[in-house]
């Protein structure tokens, strides 16, 4: 049921990817995406949370209430974590992207880092 028929927008995929590296709060997700894409993809608050909402509703991610509340934590921050269906959806998308990248390499659109 989760994720069926749901179109993974690029932003959503990026968010899933970021969460695959561990629980994060919203701002941390935004920062990682910005860093990883070298500034190409910048998630504004609206886009970020819109995507998060749809991912939540689809059961691909969840809010993490297990996050231990230490004194350093500010309760204002909410943490998100990847759920299994989300992991699978991201993996599926990543695999499809990998296939595209491989094809692009074969057609010499991009450099193959394996060739010298």
């Amino acid at each position: 049921m989760a994720g069926v028929g749901l179109k993974l927008s690029p932003a959503m995929f990026e968010i899933l990817l970021a969460l695959a590296g561990g629980e994060k709060h919203g701002y941390a997700i935004m920062q990682e995406v910005e860093k990883r894409t070298a500034g190409e993809v910048r998630l504004g608050p609206g886009t970020l949370y819109r995507s998060i909402q749809r991912l939540l509703a689809a059961g691909l991610i969840a809010m993490s209430e297990d996050h231990p509340l230490t004194l350093e934590d500010d309760e204002r921050r909410r943490y998100y974590r990847l759920l299994e269906p989300g992991r699978q959806a991201a993996a599926a998308r990543a695999r499809s992207l990998a296939r595209s990248v491989e094809a692009a390499r074969l057609r010499k659109l991009i450099d193959d880092p394996r060739s010298a």
């Binding site: 709060h25 998060i52 509703a57 509340l69 004194l71 350093e72 500010d74 204002r76």
Partner: protein
């Protein structure tokens, strides 16, 4: 507390967020504002413009899209991803329970603390309930038509009805039986203990017993399983000794022998023929303990001088209690005319009868009722404190989960459903605790039933059917449910409130914890409750100390008693005296025996009043007074350790024929000859030869009353108690005493043997038990209250992390921060203590009956309680505060 650091642009952005649909805004508004804030801070110079541009375009792009989504899903049926509404109630319940169980398992620490806390409270309550239930609902001792029974008490010589002397003599019984027409049948009884020889030749042991008059079982309507009731002929002098035994005794010690009516049992060393077996459950009216043996009223008690019988009569048909009372008044006045001395009390008023219904008689003594009230108050307080701890925990938990809850609300969960789920969690907790409590209660009551907890009344076994039965189980379940719902309601309501929206908007709205928040109220209540319990415990401890230290005026330790009766032996006075002298010599020769004396009365057990005749030098108002008296042999004051203040005490020179001697106590001298010299003054025919120290002889709490002693040799008593002071354990001496007496005269009736200590200990036993019990509860309450304070201060501290971090970063000394937090915690405590101080007098008043020598408003106990609570609160506040102050300011600020 609004964040003063929020820049103008952030606030503007927050305003712009209103362009989003409400649901989205509720869910994510706070986070979006923060993300914007941080992004805004990071951008510099021209980057600010670019940042603004990006943010605005992002907003303008996504807001309409959200509106579109919102409208679209509004038309389509709501999809609630995690909560499909089940049709049936039980499905919902099952889901709720499973969900609750899952949640509780996820926070084991919390669950454990909560369950333990609740179990403590519920077990205490359930235990007490099972005892109270057994006490209140005990069957009225196999009595037929108890509402037609009336119990008759006789007013004492002091003018009121109390304690041991609310009883009548056998002579009085006969008078009323013959004269009263409103009573169809009258019987009398007296509870006591008897020594029974084990039939199989085992050791002697004491059994609870009763002396009764003829037709006793008939009057009460108690059926007999075998044999017959006592008849008047059994009470005639010279009749064979007979006894009726209990069903339990028959089964236990005689093996349920069907031929039991042919057998005899040895009571107090003498054979009694068994003439009947009572039905199971038969016992004395209103008694907490079972009765094993009934014997006819002993011959030596069948006169007018021993007032120890309680009268119980069956109302004649058509007669009401008022009719009986009226007739008793008439009879009493008739008796006062006939025997003025015996029927006038010390105030000069005629003595009177009181007739009460059987039910009222069962609760004739106010002290048990008051004790019950105290117990109820105590366990209620404990329960409340334990539950309030859990409520605090639940509140904290609900508060931490508020965002999860808010999301679920925003995603369309029904508020009622959500509240129900939260409530289910607390009910699951309390149900677990309730189940655990029932098991604990069952185990503990089984211990009681098996060990046969003995009442401190000559070791009589408790006949209460204390057990964890269906009623107790129901109580535990009901209590668990009630506390689960009652104390879970507030967290559930709070947690599922729609204006948990501020929670979502985060920072601003919920910074400052509200002054009258539920948490604060709870802590205050806990502190107040703990103070009350601690003070109560303190009072009882002091009272017990006083009671133990209470100077009885005599030394009760190491004295063995043996009550003898020479009357039916028909010996002349001088033979009786010689017997006693001989016995005293024999006993004194025994190893370990230091001194021997005889006395008519034993303090706290018997009491007599004597008319003094003309008192020399007394005022007219005091002519022929009646005071407490006793007849004792020489050496008595030495055996009892009563100090001689003036003159001398009895010695061998006080023989029959010599001038009658009397010894008085200081209170007596004070009353009749204040400031004068008592020696040589005449009391009727006797002359005062000495003054001794004051003693207490009837009640622990009495003030010193006048008392006079006469010489045993000059005022021979066939019924007397031998007092033996021993160097060793008096209890070990008791069988030796019996042996010695029997060796001198095998047919002699030994009415009873006891260690004096055990007799007087009866009066401090309730204190000791109560002070121990309340000491424990006070301690528990204190611990629970401290936990509560700790929790709240930790909670406050975590809320103020940022503030604390900033203060420390700005150079504030951590200790100053700690002090600030502790002050806040102490503020709550102060309110609680104030509330507690107000409540204390009301509650401790209930203890008034039990306290000895301690005022319910005792300042020391109160001050001690307050000091203890203040100290505990400081500790409970300081620890979390210190932890909070150790926060790394850099870490806190970094998160900005």
């Amino acid at each position: 507390m609004s964040n003063p650091n929020r820049s103008l642009s952030s606030r503007f952005y927050a305003l712009l967020l209103w362009l989003y649909p409400p649901r989205f805004r509720r869910l994510f508004g706070a986070e979006m504002a923060r993300v914007f804030e941080r992004g805004r801070r990071r951008s510099r110079g021209a980057g600010v413009v670019a940042f603004w541009f990006r943010s605005l375009s992002d907003l303008l792009r996504t807001a309409p899209a959200e509106w579109w989504d919102a409208l679209r899903s509004g038309l389509a049926p709501e999809r609630r991803p995690s909560m499909s509404e089940p049709r049936l109630f039980f499905d919902a319940l099952g889901q709720d329970v499973r969900y609750a169980a899952r949640n509780l398992k996820r926070s084991p620490g919390f669950s454990l603390v909560a369950i333990l806390s609740l179990t403590l409270g519920i077990t205490t309550a359930t235990l007490v309930f099972s005892f109270v239930k057994a006490f209140l609902f005990r069957p009225p001792a196999q009595v037929a038509e108890p509402e037609r029974l009336a119990v008759l008490y006789l007013s004492s010589y002091r003018g009121e009805r109390f304690g041991l002397t609310s009883r009548s003599s056998y002579g009085t019984y006969l008078e009323i039986r013959d004269q009263a027409k409103t009573v169809a049948a009258l019987a009398a009884y007296c509870d006591m203990s008897l020594t029974l020889d084990a039939p199989a030749g085992g050791t002697l042991h004491r059994v609870p017993a009763a002396q009764v008059t003829g037709g006793y079982f008939g009057v009460l309507g108690t059926p007999l399983a075998l044999g017959r009731d006592f008849a008047d002929t059994d009470l005639e002098p010279g009749s064979e000794r007979v006894a009726v035994i209990s069903h339990g005794l028959w089964q236990r010690e005689l093996g349920g022998d069907p031929g039991v009516l042919e057998r005899t049992i040895r009571i107090e060393g003498r054979p009694h023929a068994v003439i009947g077996v009572a039905a199971p459950g038969a016992r004395s009216l209103g008694s907490l303990t079972q009765t094993d043996v009934w014997i006819p009223v002993k011959p030596e008690w069948r006169g007018d001088n021993v007032e120890s019988l309680i009268l119980v009569g069956r109302l004649a048909p058509g007669v009401a209690l008022e009719g009986l009372r009226a007739e008793l008044d008439v009879i009493a006045s008739r008796l006062t005319e006939k025997h003025p001395r015996r029927w006038t009390d010390t105030r000069g008023e005629p003595r009177y009868f009181t007739a009460v219904s059987e039910k009222e008689a069962r609760s004739v003594d106010g002290a048990p009722v008051r004790m019950l009230t105290v117990l109820t108050v105590v366990i209620t307080l404990i329960l409340l404190i334990a539950c309030s701890n859990v409520t605090s925990l639940l509140l904290t938990r609900a508060w931490r989960r508020r965002r999860e809850i808010a999301v679920r609300l925003a995603l369309g969960a029904g508020r009622a459903r959500l509240g129900r789920q939260l409530l289910t969690e607390s009910v699951v907790l309390t149900s677990l605790a309730g189940g655990l409590s029932f098991v604990l209660t069952w185990w503990m009551t089984r211990l009681v039933a098996l060990g046969r907890v003995t009442l401190p009344l000559e070791g009589r076994a408790l006949a209460l059917d204390v057990g964890a039965d269906a009623g107790v189980a129901l109580f535990a379940a009901g209590l668990a449910l009630a506390t689960g719902v009652g104390f879970g309601l507030v967290p559930a309501l709070q947690g599922s409130r729609p204006d948990v929206a501020p929670a979502l908007q985060g920072a601003a709205a919920e910074r400052r914890p509200r002054r009258f928040s539920a948490q604060n109220v709870l802590v205050t209540a806990k502190v107040a409750g703990a103070l009350v319990l601690v003070v109560m415990a303190g009072l009882l401890v002091r009272s017990f100390q006083k009671a133990s230290d209470l100077d009885l005026g005599f030394d009760a330790g190491r004295v063995a008693l043996a009550t003898l009766d020479l009357s039916h032996r028909d010996v002349a006075e001088d033979a009786g005296l010689r017997f006693h002298e001989h016995l005293a010599d024999r006993l004194a020769a025994l190893p370990d025996v230091e001194a021997v004396a005889q006395a008519r009365n034993v303090p706290f057990v018997h009491a007599s009043q004597c008319g003094l005749g003309a008192v020399e030098g007394a005022s007219a108002a005091d002519s022929d007074p009646v005071v407490a008296c006793n007849t004792v042999s020489s050496g008595y004051f030495g055996v009892m350790g009563i100090p001689v203040v003036r003159g001398r005490v009895f010695d061998r020179s006080d023989r029959p024929g010599a001038p009658r001697a009397a010894v008085v106590n200081e209170a007596f001298a004070e009353r009749f000859w204040p400031g004068g010299d008592p020696l040589g003054k005449r009391l009727g025919e006797a002359e005062v030869i000495g003054v001794v120290g004051n003693t207490r002889f009837r009640m622990l709490t009495e003030e010193h009353l006048p008392h006079v002693w006469y010489a045993f040799a000059q005022d021979y008593q066939p019924l007397a108690t031998v007092h033996v002071r021993t160097a060793g354990d008096p209890r070990a001496l008791l069988p030796v005493l019996r042996e010695q007496i029997r060796a001198m005269d095998p047919e002699l009736t030994v009415l009873g043997t006891d260690a004096m200590e055990d007799v007087t200990a009866i009066f401090t036993e309730p204190q000791r038990i109560a002070s121990k019990a309340l000491g424990w509860t006070g301690g528990i309450a204190l611990v629970l209250a401290m936990m509560g304070i700790y929790g709240v201060v930790a909670h406050l501290a975590s809320l103020r992390t940022r503030e604390v971090g900033i203060r420390v970063a700005l150079g504030a000394h951590p200790r100053a921060v700690v002090r600030m937090l502790v002050r806040e915690g102490m503020g709550l405590t102060a309110v609680g203590i104030a509330a507690g101080i107000v409540a204390v007098p009301g509650v401790t008043r209930l203890l008034g009956a039990v306290l000895v020598g301690v005022d319910p408003l005792d300042a020391v106990a109160l001050a001690g309680g307050v000091a203890l609570l203040v100290a505990s609160s400081v500790l409970a506040s300081w620890v979390p505060a210190a932890r909070a102050a150790r926060v790394d300011p850099a870490a806190v600020l970094r998160d900005e």
